[in-house]
């Protein structure tokens, strides 16, 4: 079972994504506070991180950049998640593999997760 870590400051979105992914046989861990990101990665060891861009107090793009620079996390594929399509398109700048624009369709979400995890 693939493990997916979802980071978003909106708990409604977290619950939604968790439900969808759980229903499609993924193990899901969600965090609303980005500061717990490293702890979560260590304990959960995700196959993929779904990272929201506009987090309260931090930019998902910067976090992604840090993950890609750190030796122990650089191998984990990151998919950006944002309501701002223009921002989300900057995937290559921070080393993310893909992006999902909000609002998303379940089909698109599953295809992208499946492809990259």
């Amino acid at each position: 079972m693939k493990r997916i870590l979802v980071v978003d400051d909106d708990t409604d979105i977290l619950n939604l994504v968790k439900t969808i992914l759980a229903l499609n046989s993924y193990a899901v861990e969600t965090i609303a506070d980005w500061k717990q990101l490293n702890n979560a990665i260590e304990s959960f060891r995700p196959h993929l991180i779904l990272l929201d861009i506009s987090l309260s107090g931090a930019s998902g793009l910067d976090l992604c950049d840090e993950l890609k620079k750190a030796e122990n996390t650089m191998h984990i594929p990151v998919v950006l998640f944002s309501a701002n399509v223009e921002m989300a398109k900057r995937v290559s700048e921070c080393g993310a593999v893909d992006y999902i624009a909000k609002p998303f369709s379940i089909k698109d979400l599953l295809v992208i997760i499946e492809k990259n995890s």
């Binding site: 979105i13 939604l16 994504v17 439900t19 309501a83 701002n84 909000k102 369709s105 379940i106």
Partner: protein
């Protein structure tokens, strides 16, 4: 009839200055000429009158002695004294001609002076003087007819000079007015140009530099202040639209996601129908928010194109497929016209957005069971896509306005939801691709066209 309002300020200023100077000069010249003529006439009367007096004094004796010949001799002397005297007559007390001198043939008729001692008639000055003898008795009259040929010469000469002076003044006035007006109208025209630019490009940050303290200077200052305010409110509005639509997206994501989940799980009726209705409304809402975001991007200059090469035909077919899948009414979208295996450079996603928008408009405004035709042709290195519907058409007065934002066609029998942003966004996207978008419409329906510059790689099928 020329409407004064429609003459440019530039020409108005020139016209005012030239007309004023010509008018003033004309009055001035006429006045002077009139005074000159009056002067001349007074002098002429005096000199002829003194001649008449001399003649009267010299002819007292000729009348007394009935010496016609002597009188004639005296009269003929006039030719040397005053060559413009054409006729001189001496009459006795009964008014009979005693002696006469005439440059032309002798004429017994005479201009009736009445009680006056002189009179101007036509080009002639008539002067009379009584002949009074030593006993202070009236012995007869001297009549002189003087031709005013000199006056006519003088008149034509003076009016000629005045006319030439007027023409010269007109020329100078025109030149001066032209130089002065350029200073005045240049600033005005510059202001107008900047205002036009601002309204056409929606760039309200244009500030005009002008140190003038005159009315135009004030106008420019007011314009700058106004633009600052417009810019402020525009920015605030765009920010608001941006933030608002962004914030709307988050709950919309939840709604859309859960509805989809529900859709997969719930198979009972009528729950399934309700889910479908909710899905449709969610899709509409998503569309509206996307449009609002696009408009705020357009206005804040953040709409960027991801230019790539793509096959237009494929994109048209894809768009038709995606629209057809969503159509509940029984419209058929038919591709016809020339099929060109053509590569275009542009933002594929944005062009698709235009196609989908035009197609969904065609579906929205078409009567049930009518077809919609899509065709593409190449003309003058431009790829032209036409989307033709058989709706009610667009009234002539709306044709330009439909591409404005928040504009919605009136007189439609059905309520069409939306903000009226779709065509505005389409128009902006096409313009950014250096293309054109336009509509042709009649009673039998509308055709929306857009053109894009091509890269020629055509292998016509």
């Amino acid at each position: 009839m020329i409407n004064l309002r429609n003459i440019s300020i530039q020409n108005k200023l020139v016209l005012i200055q030239v007309l004023t100077s010509v008018f003033v000069l004309a009055i001035f010249f006429t006045g002077f000429i009139m005074i000159d003529i009056k002067d001349y006439k007074e002098r002429k009367v005096k000199s002829i009158q003194s001649i008449a007096k001399v003649l009267a004094a010299n002819n007292v004796s000729t009348i007394q002695f009935q010496d016609n010949e002597a009188a004639k001799d005296i009269l003929s002397e006039l030719q040397n004294v005053a060559p413009d005297i054409v006729r001189a007559v001496i009459t006795d007390t009964d008014g009979n001609t005693f002696a006469q001198f005439s440059k032309t043939k002798a004429d017994s008729s005479w201009f009736d002076l009445g009680n006056k001692t002189f009179a101007f008639e036509g080009r002639h000055l008539y002067v009379t003087n009584p002949i009074v003898n030593a006993e202070n008795e009236l012995a007869g009259h001297v009549y002189i007819d003087c031709e005013l040929s000199e006056l006519e010469d003088m008149k034509s000469k003076k009016f000629g000079i005045a006319g030439i002076s007027l023409v010269v003044a007109l020329g100078c006035g025109f030149l001066i007015a032209f130089i002065i007006q350029t200073y005045v109208s240049k600033r005005l025209l510059f202001l107008v140009e900047k205002m036009k630019e601002a309204s056409e490009t929606n760039n309200y940050r244009l500030v005009i530099k002008d140190d003038g303290k005159d009315e135009i200077g004030i106008l420019i200052k007011v314009y700058n202040d106004l633009m600052y305010q417009v810019n402020e409110s525009q920015q605030r509005k765009d920010e608001f639209i941006g933030i608002a639509s962004h914030e709307l997206k988050t709950p919309l994501t939840s709604i859309k996601g859960y509805i989809e989940l529900l859709n997969e799980m719930e198979t009972r009726q009528p729950q399934q129908i309700f889910i479908q209705k909710t899905k449709e409304s969610t899709a509409k809402l998503e569309h509206l928010i996307a449009d609002l975001l696009d408009v705020s991007r357009i206005n804040s200059g953040q709409l960027q194109l991801n230019i790539e090469e793509f096959k237009m035909d494929e994109l048209i077919d894809e768009s038709i497929d995606s629209i057809s899948a969503g159509i509940r009414t029984d419209h058929t979208i038919i591709r016809n016209g020339t099929f060109n295996d053509l590569t275009v450079k542009g933002d594929r996603q944005r062009i698709e957005q235009v196609l989908i928008n035009l197609l969904s408009n065609a579906v929205k405004y078409s009567p049930p069971r009518s077809d919609i035709f899509v065709s593409s042709t190449i003309k003058d290195e431009q790829l032209i896509v036409e989307i033709k519907d058989f709706g009610n058409g667009i009234p002539e007065e709306d044709k330009e306005k439909i591409f404005e934002r928040f504009y919605r066609a009136r007189n439609t029998s059905v309520h069409i939801s939306g903000f009226g942003l779709g065509l505005y966004i389409c128009s902006d996207i096409i313009k950014r691709h250096n293309g054109k978008i336009w509509v042709e419409s009649g009673a039998k329906g509308s055709s929306f066209f857009f053109s894009l510059p091509t890269i020629k790689k055509s292998i016509p099928i």
